[in-house]
């Protein structure tokens, strides 16, 4: 079993860091400290961090912060980042208005 799969493993106490106030997810304004605290709450995957804090759930859908979140988790759990999956990608690629997404009429010229 990979160590990361044992959610009761001891990763040490949460120790605050001087740059914990840095914003990691710009869309949802989630800080480094909030993400580190969430890891200590047991959120060991990028998907779990996203669902717990909304980091990566804003307009850019994690295209900016996804890698940063992954590296924070890896560092806190003392594993290499490659052991972690990125957050699941979701359609649509860009935000689309409902009236556009819902319009399936084909214009015949």
């Amino acid at each position: 079993m990979k160590s990361i799969n044992d959610r009761s493993q001891d990763i040490g106490p949460f120790v605050s860091q001087t740059d914990d106030a840095i914003i990691i997810c710009r869309c949802e304004e989630i800080t480094k400290g909030e993400i580190r605290q969430a890891i200590h709450d047991g959120m060991f995957t990028v998907n779990e961090i996203r669902r717990y804090l909304r980091a990566g759930m804003g307009l850019c859908q994690g295209q900016t912060c996804g890698k940063l979140v992954k590296n924070l988790i890896a560092r806190e759990l003392n594993v290499i980042p490659d052991q972690l999956d990125p957050a699941t990608s979701r359609s649509p690629m860009r935000p689309v208005e409902m009236k556009v997404l819902g319009n399936e009429e084909v214009a015949h010229v």
């Binding site: 079993m1 990979k2 990361i4 799969n5 044992d6 959610r7 009761s8 709450d41 047991g42 959120m43 060991f44 995957t45 998907n47 779990e48 669902r51 717990y52 909304r54 759930m57 804003g58 307009l59 859908q61 999956d85 699941t88 979701r90 359609s91 649509p92 935000p95 689309v96 208005e97 409902m98 009236k99 997404l101 819902g102 319009n103 399936e104």
Partner: protein, 379 residues
């Protein structure tokens, strides 16, 4: 960990969704040792994090309505405080909307049944509807209105139960799919995973539709099938309304979250025929179809931007009502699955009552109508 290393617990729960996590939490509160085995890498990756967040009583089958009513009265209001996580519980009512005489009849039928169970729900007309929610189009002519219904955030509720259970000493193991349940001397004893064999006096199977193949290893069957459904979410919008919404045809449902985004689920009518490669990916038609449905009810949302769409499987039961039951044929085995797409709202009540069933042998709410052996062929 060696292949044959045994791990003993009072209870093993198979499935790290909201049902498994909530049951683990309430069992840990009673002082039992619990391990939760989750097949995937993520806690709460199935229906628990893919649903629309309804915390409804109205529209439910009378067999599960008592659980819904009890949970809304006793657990949901204090849940954020209890878990130390904001589950965004909002109790501002549920409108189930209709446009036609057929809809009116469906809604009246559901309302009559719920009233007979003591629920405060009533039919209202178009003007009354728009007094509650002024954004609804003139096409909406009737609705059932249940003021004590609401919604919550499935993501933080699922992970909140996980966090709190973990704090109380519950062990969670991910990437631990159960291959086999094993009886020893006629009673449940072992749960076999690729990395280890876990042992317990009692085992709860709460693994969504995967429960079916797990239960098959001890000769038990729950008649259910996976059914893929889809949801979407908009960017944050200014606050518009707080009610949970659904329709008589169940063609879409949703609410505005605390964050401001609208979360909607809907059906294209092709769910049972959707291509499915083993991963619940969105279809090309689902989100578009749901958008058209929403705009007909809410013209003001036509310009709201969709930022994300996703799909998930329901564990759709033969009679669309869950199986929550001890299995006397396999002493020590318990089942909580087949929630058929409406498990989230009753999850806290299910966790609480299943924990009582496992620890004490009886539960606060009578769950006998939800037994696993209720399915009978045509006579």
């Amino acid at each position: 960990m060696s292949k044959h290393m045994s791990k003993y617990n009072d209870v093993i729960i198979i499935g790290g969704g909201i049902i498994g996590n909530a049951t683990a939490y309430y069992l840990a509160k009673k002082g039992l040792s619990v391990t939760v085995l989750e097949a995937s890498k993520d806690i709460g990756i199935g229906g628990s994090s893919r649903n629309g967040g309804g915390v409804r009583q109205s529209g439910r089958d009378t067999r599960e309505l008592p659980l819904a009513m009890w949970g809304i009265k006793n657990l949901w209001p204090g849940l954020s405080e209890e878990l130390g996580v904001d589950v965004e519980y909002t109790q501002k009512g549920n409108l189930r909307l209709g446009k036609t005489a057929v809809h009116q009849k469906i809604l009246q039928g559901l309302t009559d049944k719920a009233v007979s169970c003591g629920l405060d729900v009533r039919m209202i007309n178009g003007d009354e509807i728009r007094a509650i929610n002024p954004y609804l189009s003139e096409e909406v002519t009737c609705a059932s209105w249940c003021p004590t219904d609401g919604h919550a955030n499935p993501l933080t509720a699922t992970l909140g139960y996980y966090k709190k259970a973990r704090e109380l000493g519950v062990r969670f193991i991910t990437e631990a799919p159960c291959f086999e349940l094993r009886k020893i001397k006629g009673v449940i004893r072992q749960v076999v995973t690729p990395d280890a064999i876990y042992e317990a006096d009692k085992v709860l199977v709460a693994a969504g539709f995967d429960s079916r193949k797990i239960l098959a290893t001890v000769g038990i069957d729950v008649p259910m099938m996976p059914l893929k459904m889809e949801c979407l979410v908009t960017e944050a919008e200014p606050p518009m309304f707080l009610q949970m919404l659904g329709t008589a045809d169940a063609d879409f449902y949703g609410h505005q979250s605390k964050h401001g985004s609208f979360v909607f689920g809907g059906s294209s009518g092709f769910e049972h025929l959707n291509k499915d490669n083993g991963s619940p990916i969105s279809s090309s038609i689902g989100a578009s179809c749901t958008c058209r449905g929403i705009i007909k009810y809410f013209p003001a949302l036509a310009d709201a931007k969709i930022v994300r769409a996703w799909a998930g499987w329901l564990d759709d039961c033969a009679d669309h009502v869950p199986v929550i039951s001890p299995v006397e044929e396999v002493p020590g085995l318990y089942i909580a699955c087949a929630f058929s797409g409406h498990g989230f709202g009753i999850a806290p009540a299910v966790g609480y009552n299943v924990a009582e069933m496992i620890a004490d042998g009886h539960s606060t709410i009578d769950l006998s109508a939800l037994r696993y052996d209720r399915f009978k062929p045509k006579q």
